[in-house]
């Protein structure tokens, strides 16, 4: 039996059907959140702002897509199907094997790989790296920004100089220098990883120590756990020598990850430093100092919680920015393997034939745009709601 090319209505219906788990999860999330929104603090207030809700919807759509990617995809995103190049959306497959999906829902690229499945899998890849890289950048920025803003003086001058140094680098140049296959042999990514990945451990160890040092058993437990888990993960992620082999990172991925963290952390540093310089003149800081609290206690348990509003907003924006950066890396074919379905590489693949075939490049482009737009709208909604406090 020869299948016909699907019409756009059929394509949309079939795509909607593939996304079924996402719809269920989205409806559940929204129903629960709106029911209990008065009890959920800032997150609940988000549902008072239409902009924030739209943003949250877009973001959660992609988050659930990433989680359920295995159920959504119709074909193996890396495998090639047939010999027809760039078939348009809705093209039926020839010689369908038993149990195989019979259509290229959104067409296929120049190697006859299914565009729809690649975009869905790309979401998983992007959402695995971007939030994690942003979180690391925040750890670095917060751990260095707090003392720089609080103590000021020579430490501040030195750290600010370093931050400005990194910021004065055109990002793309830095990527071209840092994310090359050759540089992996020199060990520079590992050194960078060793420096950058130590900050979360320092952060949490100081966090617990400054709070519980008056209660040694509790302090020892928390700090000990932090060091144990932290150093275990650290050995695996940075040096790939985890004795149990649970924590490890592909050298390619490590290179990309480290570069993105490196580029983002100076901006976070500057934001945190600015907020701390503003907040340290407040009365509750003076009260803490009069009580004789330690400097780190004041920074981590007095100033940081009060700085959370702008930091959460910036975190959302920065995930979007990191997504853009990852896309840029893919666009220039840096760091990631050519097989990889991440959105930047897919756009780069597709753009070469852009004037003839649109679908291989436009689909991931729209996907990337909607995710970043969602994050920006979410940040905007959060900012508006947190200002109302």
């Amino acid at each position: 039996m020869e299948n016909e090319i699907l019409s756009w209505g059929q394509i949309i219906a079939r795509i909607a059907q593939q996304f079924l788990p996402v719809w269920v999860a989205l409806i559940a999330t929204f129903a629960l959140s709106i029911t209990y929104k008065r009890k959920l603090g800032l997150f609940g207030k988000l549902f008072d702002s239409p902009v924030g809700m739209v943003g949250f919807l877009l973001v959660m759509f992609w988050v659930y897509t990433a989680i359920f990617a295995d159920m959504i995809i119709t074909m193996d995103p890396i495998a090639q199907f047939g010999r027809v190049k760039n078939p348009p959306p809705g093209t039926p497959l020839k010689d369908v094997a038993e149990g195989q999906y019979p259509y290229f829902l959104l067409g296929a690229d120049h190697l006859a790989r299914d565009v729809f499945s690649r975009v869905v899998m790309g979401a998983r890849r992007v959402l695995m790296i971007a939030p994690a890289a942003t979180a690391f950048a925040f750890m670095v920025g917060v751990t260095l920004g707090l003392p720089a803003g609080y103590f000021g003086g020579k430490l501040d001058t030195f750290l600010s100089f370093l931050a400005n140094l990194v910021l004065a680098f055109p990002v793309i140049l830095l990527f071209y220098l840092l994310v090359t296959p050759e540089i992996r042999n020199t060990g520079i990514p590992v050194v960078l990883a060793a420096v950058l990945f130590i900050f979360p451990i320092i952060f949490f160890a100081t966090l617990f120590n400054s709070r519980f040092f008056t209660n040694p058993p509790k302090r020892n437990l928390y700090v000990g756990l932090t060091l144990l888990i932290g150093l275990w993960a650290y050995s695996g992620l940075a040096f790939n020598v985890d004795p149990l082999g649970i924590w490890s990172m592909d050298p390619n991925l490590l290179n990309v990850f480290v570069s993105v963290v490196f580029v983002n952390s100076p901006t976070v540093f500057r934001i945190v430093r600015g907020i701390v310089m503003d907040l340290k003149a407040r009365d509750y800081v003076a009260a803490g100092q009069t009580r004789g609290e330690g400097a780190w206690y004041i920074m981590l348990w007095e100033i940081l919680p009060n700085a959370r509003g702008p930091l959460i907003v910036d975190f959302c924006l920065r995930i979007g920015y990191t997504t853009i950066l990852l896309g840029t890396l893919g666009f220039f074919g840096l760091g990631v393997s050519p097989e990889s379905p991440d959105w930047g590489s897919t756009i780069d693949d597709g753009r070469k034939l852009l004037s003839l075939y649109l679908h291989p490049a436009v689909t991931p482009a729209l996907a990337l745009m909607s995710l970043v737009l969602g994050l920006n709208l979410l940040a905007d909604g959060l900012r508006e709601e947190s200002l109302k406090d």
């Binding site: 902009v51 100089f161 400005n164 140094l165 004065a168 680098f169 055109p170 990002v171 793309i172 140049l173 071209y176 220098l177 840092l178 050759e182 540089i183 042999n185 020199t186 520079i188 979007g320 853009i324 896309g327 840029t328 666009f331 220039f332 930047g344 756009i347 780069d348 597709g350 753009r351 852009l354 004037s355 003839l356 649109l358 490049a361 436009v362 482009a365 729209l366 990337l368 745009m369 970043v372 737009l373 994050l375 920006n376 709208l377 905007d380």
Partner: protein, 361 residues
């Protein structure tokens, strides 16, 4: 003021030194040099031959020393080989070793030789900068007025419908990086099969197959609206959203000031309040943002020139990096770093001039 400028210049020089050293270090890593040896010498060289090529071409020795030579503060290397032929960093084809200068780094204006384009680096960079200059100029002419207008219109009445619509537009453009908007714009305007071009062609509104051209290579010789509109739009769009949001924030803040209320209560027309009273104060912050936008434009330029195949600075940088053309990449980096640092300086100084409340001792 002078003191301030002098201190800024000092920090700037220090930053430039540190940055160029980092670039020099990263481009002259051993694997890069080995690759250079194989492309310049012979692909089939064994490891010993590679090592001796590196030695004979002045790429051996401590990196600080080589950096100083490249900068032009240390004497360039001179090597006399077994056959008695003297070669050196400063000894080019026609120059005799005896009369060749001792120092020849970028400070002396010797930027080296591009292995990809087979021209002196300074010539290549100059040509590319010229091409990019036109692009930047067009982008600025589109971006700055549009974004200021959007920012002022949405900021003068916060929360109005105009404000909502324009803000959403601004957020949408900041969420669209150049490589996405470029692809979408090409799909919409420059594709013979999709978007609006086939429609316009059918109606007989346009002569060619497409409304705009999807590549800007022909703009190298002759810039026309047809071949230049899409690259300019692509870069400008991303910046418009950002500057417009900054202008809006600054404008809304100014509009809540007491002197604006006083002017309104005095009976001054709303239009005059905005133009005479609010505008100047509201434009201080966006000025800084516009200047600091230059480094970002540099990014956009690299992406857009690659996407539209326009052989400017960004395209040259990509070629240099992709082909391991060390001297050209260094030259591009120097230019890029200086553009960033100088715009930072201008933005600092301009901020002080525009804002009379800041007094520097």
């Amino acid at each position: 003021m002078l003191n301030f400028v002098a201190r800024r210049l000092g920090v700037m020089a220090l930053t430039a030194l540190a940055l160029t050293f980092v670039v020099f270090y990263l481009t002259n890593l051993p694997p890069n040099l080995e690759k250079l040896a194989r492309t310049e010498g012979s692909v089939r060289m064994n490891d010993n031959a590679v090592a001796s090529w590196i030695e004979n071409n002045g790429h051996a020795g401590p990196v600080i020393g080589r950096y100083a030579q490249w900068l032009g503060v240390a004497p360039g290397w001179v090597i006399t080989d077994d056959k008695g032929v003297t070669r050196g960093r400063c000894i080019d084809g026609g120059v005799k070793p005896e009369v060749a200068p001792t120092y020849c780094g970028i400070l002396q204006g010797d930027w080296g030789f591009s292995t990809v384009f087979k021209h002196p680096v300074i010539q290549e960079v100059g040509k590319a900068l010229g091409a990019t200059g036109w692009l930047m100029l067009a982008v600025m002419l589109v971006m700055v007025p549009t974004s200021l207008l959007i920012g002022i219109l949405s900021g003068m009445r916060e929360g109005s419908r105009t404000d909502r619509v324009l803000s959403i537009f601004a957020i949408a453009t900041t969420a669209t990086p150049e490589y996405v908007s470029g692809v979408i714009l090409v799909a919409l305007f420059a594709s013979a099969t999709a978007g609006i071009s086939p429609l316009l062609n059918e109606w007989g509104w346009i002569e060619g197959k497409t409304l705009f051209l999807g590549t800007a290579t022909s703009a190298m010789d002759d810039i026309t609206f047809w071949n230049f509109a899409l690259p300019v739009m692509t870069i400008a769009l991303y910046g418009i959203g950002y500057i417009a949001r900054m202008t809006r924030a600054s404008m809304t803040e100014v509009m809540t000031q007491q002197y604006i209320r006083t002017a309104r209560l005095k009976g001054v027309k709303f239009r005059d309040v905005v133009i005479r009273h609010a505008l100047r104060n509201a434009l201080i912050a966006p000025f800084t943002v516009i200047m600091l936008q230059f480094p970002w434009l540099l990014n956009g330029v690299v992406i857009v020139e690659t996407l539209f195949n326009y052989k400017g600075f960004g395209w040259t940088l990509v070629q240099a990096a992709g082909n391991n053309d060390i001297e050209l990449l260094l030259g591009c980096s120097v230019v890029a770093v200086f553009v960033v640092l100088i715009t930072q300086l201008i933005s600092d100084i301009g901020y002080v001039f525009l804002n009379p409340r800041i007094r520097l001792a």
